[in-house]
């Protein structure tokens, strides 16, 4: 699980160009403006490539993907 989280934080940092993303694994990424629609899509595409999972856009319910912890949990479920 920690492994997954670390990877996710890495992806988030790459996409947003912010170093401090993921310091708080419960930070709401949408509310705080870390992720916009474009960045979200990039994260999704990268997740698909890196973890080999399928995340349809309509499956992407923002409230369930809003923090590092939640993303990690969803990825684990879909893996």
């Amino acid at each position: 699980m920690d492994d997954i989280k670390e990877k996710i934080v890495g992806i988030l940092q790459d996409v947003t160009g912010l170093d401090n993303v993921g310091q708080d694994a419960d930070q709401d990424l949408f509310k705080d403006g870390v992720l916009d629609s474009m960045a979200t899509v990039e994260v999704l595409v990268t997740l698909q490539d890196d973890f080999g999972i399928q995340v349809p856009v309509s499956e992407f319910d923002r409230s369930q993907w809003s923090t590092v912890n939640k993303i990690a949990q969803r990825v684990q479920e879909l893996e």
Partner: protein, 403 residues
């Protein structure tokens, strides 16, 4: 007896409240009367679409049957296959009636389009959402009566807010507990009252009392000054913007309030849009269900495809192409006139500029001050940019320059 536009007259509210009473009493005692819900829906639809000239109502029936045919043939197809082109054709077919309705005014010999009725856009959004989610596999099953109930949910039928099928389904399949329902009644009453204030008092003031005066003044400069420009046009811009917001937000509040009385938590359409800090923020606060629909079903999907297939490399270019596509579609959706399309392009440019500024700000975080004054300035600037766009949207320039 003529059609009554929803939420436009005291009559409508009286009929509505009488029809709602049994539903509310039922929910109070923990029951949903499905047959009665159906009957109430039919009555409201008759009031809205079948008064006087029945053409709207007949169009509505044909439209619903047509979309149903599409959704259910696609559903059975999707259970076995998943071809991209079949999916695309279904989406196109689902949109075609709307396209006809929108193109009709352009034709020289106007025919009343086969499918023209109040609110066709909003039903189309819902139908397309369902087809897309069937493709994604998140809607695995849907029954005909569920589809019709979702599509024809009468509080939102004429102009949204645009709900999502799965969210809606969760509410109607469930009966709220007594405490939850009391909470819903409370929020419903508050919204209803706020809606009355917005639409019939503030909206009336700006739209009915002020706007015609300002418009007459604005148009009196036609051909008199370069491009007919005057300070009156500036006044018109603000008055129209206020009218647009209060009228539409008031209407949306009614729709949400009536949904609440029926135990459905229809999403809100506005969240203090004039407090937006930038244009992106604005689109997260203005006509929210529409902009989120466009975001989820057009913008994000387009981005997804472009990035996945690596059609474009530069992420700034990708985002900008996305904005232009998105807002052009939104412009065309509003209607095939030059000012709706310019309105779309204007907003695309505003979004692109805004993104560029945000990137610049990210890089120079330390040099750029951020305090109460910059915040106030940001709100002021966004407000004015937005009002300017509404001035384009209003079509006043068309009247001033061309008509």
């Amino acid at each position: 007896m003529n059609n009554i536009t929803p939420y436009s007259s005291p009559h409508y509210f009286i009929y509505l409240m009488l029809l709602l009473l049994p539903i509310m009493i039922g929910l109070w005692f923990g029951k949903r009367f499905r047959v009665y819900d159906f009957i109430a829906t039919v009555i409201i639809l008759i009031i809205t679409f079948f008064g006087g000239n029945m053409s709207q109502g007949i169009s509505l029936i044909f439209y619903v049957l047509y979309e149903m045919l599409l959704v259910f043939t696609y559903l059975s197809y999707r259970k076995k296959h998943n071809n991209f082109w079949i999916f695309t054709s279904y989406v196109v077919l689902a949109i075609i009636p709307l396209v006809f309705v929108k193109l009709d005014p352009l034709l020289k010999n106007q025919t009343i389009s086969l499918f023209a009725f109040l609110g066709i856009s909003y039903l189309t959004f819902k139908a397309v959402e369902i087809i897309m989610e069937i493709r994604d596999g998140v809607i695995k099953d849907i029954k005909p009566y569920e589809f019709v109930r979702f599509l024809l949910f009468f509080p939102t039928i004429s102009s949204g807010p645009i709900d999502r099928f799965r969210r809606f389904q969760k509410d109607v399949m469930n009966v709220p507990s007594r405490d939850e329902y009391v909470e819903l009644l409370h929020s419903g009453v508050n919204r209803l009252m706020q809606g009355l204030l917005y639409k019939f008092i503030i909206g009336y003031f700006f739209g009915t009392l002020l706007l015609p005066k300002v418009q007459i003044l604005t148009l009196s400069y036609k051909g008199q000054t370069p491009l007919g420009l005057s300070w009156a046009l500036v006044a018109y811009m603000y008055v129209y913007s206020m009218y647009l917001f209060f009228d539409f937000a008031g209407y949306s509040l009614f729709a949400v309030a009536i949904s609440n009385f029926m135990g459905v938590k229809t999403p809100m359409n506005f969240r203090a849009p004039f407090k937006s800090h930038n244009i992106k923020d604005f689109w997260n606060r203005w006509h929210i269900t529409l902009s989120f629909w466009f975001r989820d079903f057009i913008y994000m999907r387009l981005m997804f495809t472009v990035i996945k297939h690596k059609w474009l490399k530069n992420r700034v270019t990708i985002a900008n192409v996305g904005y232009i596509t998105l807002f052009l579609i939104m412009g065309f959706w509003h209607g095939e006139t030059w000012y709706y399309i310019v309105y779309g392009i204007f907003h695309a440019c505003a979004m692109i500029t805004n993104d560029a500024w945000l990137r610049y700000k990210k890089k120079h975080r330390k040099q750029i001050p951020s305090n109460k004054f910059t915040e106030a300035f940001a709100i002021f600037l966004t407000f004015n940019v937005v009002c300017f766009s509404f001035m384009i949207f209003s079509g006043i320039l068309d009247k001033l320059w061309f008509v």
